[in-house]
Amino acid sequence: MNRTLIHTENLHKQYRMSKTNVVHALRGVSLDVQEGDFTAIIGPSGGGKSTLLHILGLLDKPDNGTFILDGIDVMKMKEKEAHLVRAKKLGFIFQGFNLIPTLTALENVMQAGRYGGLNAKARKTRALELLEQVGLHQRGNHKPNELSGGQQQRVAIARALMNKPTIILADEPTGELDSKTSAEIIAMLQQLNKEHNQTFLMVTHNLDVAAMCKKVVKLVDGKNET
């Protein structure tokens, strides 16, 4: 049986907007992700998908519930430890690519290695390998504004892979791409999943994209839809 990388039970999260306005973003979400999974989280806007992804990415903390990430009890984890877990166990792919505009493609990929504790030489070697893997080895010295949307997302994928993460969290990775480029990106993620057993958890609105995933979890009003 595959190792469980994410296990959540009854996760709750609420945001207090004002004294009288409290938004219940998560109302008891439970989720299991095994090694090698390619899971899509779908659901209407405001259903809690992004909140869940931020919590799973250790960018936010649930109010209560259980959250075990690759054997680590996240509820007991201190903020000082969270950044190392983020750097070494998690990779992020965003909707808007989110590359640092002043850095080149190569430097953007290398940046993640810096936080993962790789030395400068190892960072460069690994970043060049990854750029080659995503087919951008000749574009390493280009800044993000010199790359197309699809190319930028491929750089973001390379960056997410930099520290050989346990799981990659993707937030609408094709949201800003045309259908042809979207298909290419999803194909690339599937290839990584298949050939390298890379685990993915992806939030998407696109049901066609979700259909390509091995597992689908639907969130409605902050809860799993059964």
Partner: protein
Amino acid sequence: MFRRKMRTVLTIVGITVGIFAFTVMGSMALRFNKMIAGGKSFITGQITLMPKGTSFTSMGGAAFLPVDTLQQISKVEGVQAVAAGVELALKEPDPDNPTGEFSFGPPPTIEGMDLNSTYENRNWKTMDMKAGRMLAKGDKDNQVTVGYTIAIDKGLKVGDETEIRGRKFEVIGIIDQTLTGPDQYVFMSLKSARELLVESNPFLKSLKERSDEAAKISDADLAKLPEATRKQVLDARAFKLEDVTQMGAVSWQDGQDPDVVANRIKDQFKDEVIVLSPIKLGETIDKASAIFNAIILGSAVIALIVGGFSIINTMVMSISERKREIGIKKAIGASNRSIAWDYTLEAGAIGILGGLIGMGFGLLAIFFINGQTAKSGAEIFLVTPGFMVGVVVFSLVLGLVAGLLPAVRASKMNAVDAIREL
């Protein structure tokens, strides 16, 4: 840092102005301090005697120390030797401009040296010579040793003849630069200095002329004169050139406490001389140099305020525009500390860049002004390697400290909020 070039450039200009002021004011204060330190070193190496009726600040006044008194002081317990001193301006002031040009430090001065005395200043036993030698016992009355600035000002070399107050002197030595009093001094024999002083002072001149006239009257002729006239002639003869002594310098014997020796002299001669203890005089001078240290501190504070606030402003603006970048960095594993460090370093880089440019402009201004004033013999600024390193370190620390607060704010930014800036 260079994403908003104009803003960064303006910040660097702000720091440049502050550090420019710091460099210029600081090197001026250093020059003052060096000069004061030299004066302090000299004055605390001896017990200084002033005639009654003068004060330390009116040195070279019209009161004199009788030679007999100085001889008696030389016998006080603990005294090693006493030297008489005469001091006067190198040039007669211009009647149309009696205050003269602004002078940085002591004006060009003639120092009469008591070459027959074994007096030795504890802190200025020898002077480093640029050329030739220091005036010494046995030298002629028409020989002088000149200070560094005087030599440059008059274009003098060893062996040259120079005219001082209408008399010809031979230059036998040029003292190396001290950046303090001796740079502006001409050292000559006590006898020559006394004669020049008498020549320059109408009252003393008339006493001397009357004394010379009185000396021509033989004792036989004197006896024939009426009582009142004879008394006048004898009074006129009483004037002795050796009594024209404006100050005395006392050196103490080895193992003696200069303060104790000064007090002994004071106790015995309090009606005739003012005794300046080296220790107390040193304390007075320290108070003066505190003013110049306040100048350095003041200019540093200006640099701190101008530069510091512009860095803080730039960094706060820059960080608020880069919220998204901070969110991305956090998402890919950056620790709060590494984010704070990145932005602090960026502010430090702005600080050091502004500092280097400001110091560069400051040094250019200093070398230009020093080059101009060196022609008239008085450099206003002193730049030392230590001070330059200090300026660079100061601007780096300024940048780091000013950047720290915005950087810490950036590091504490909520990653989710930052990412939602998309």
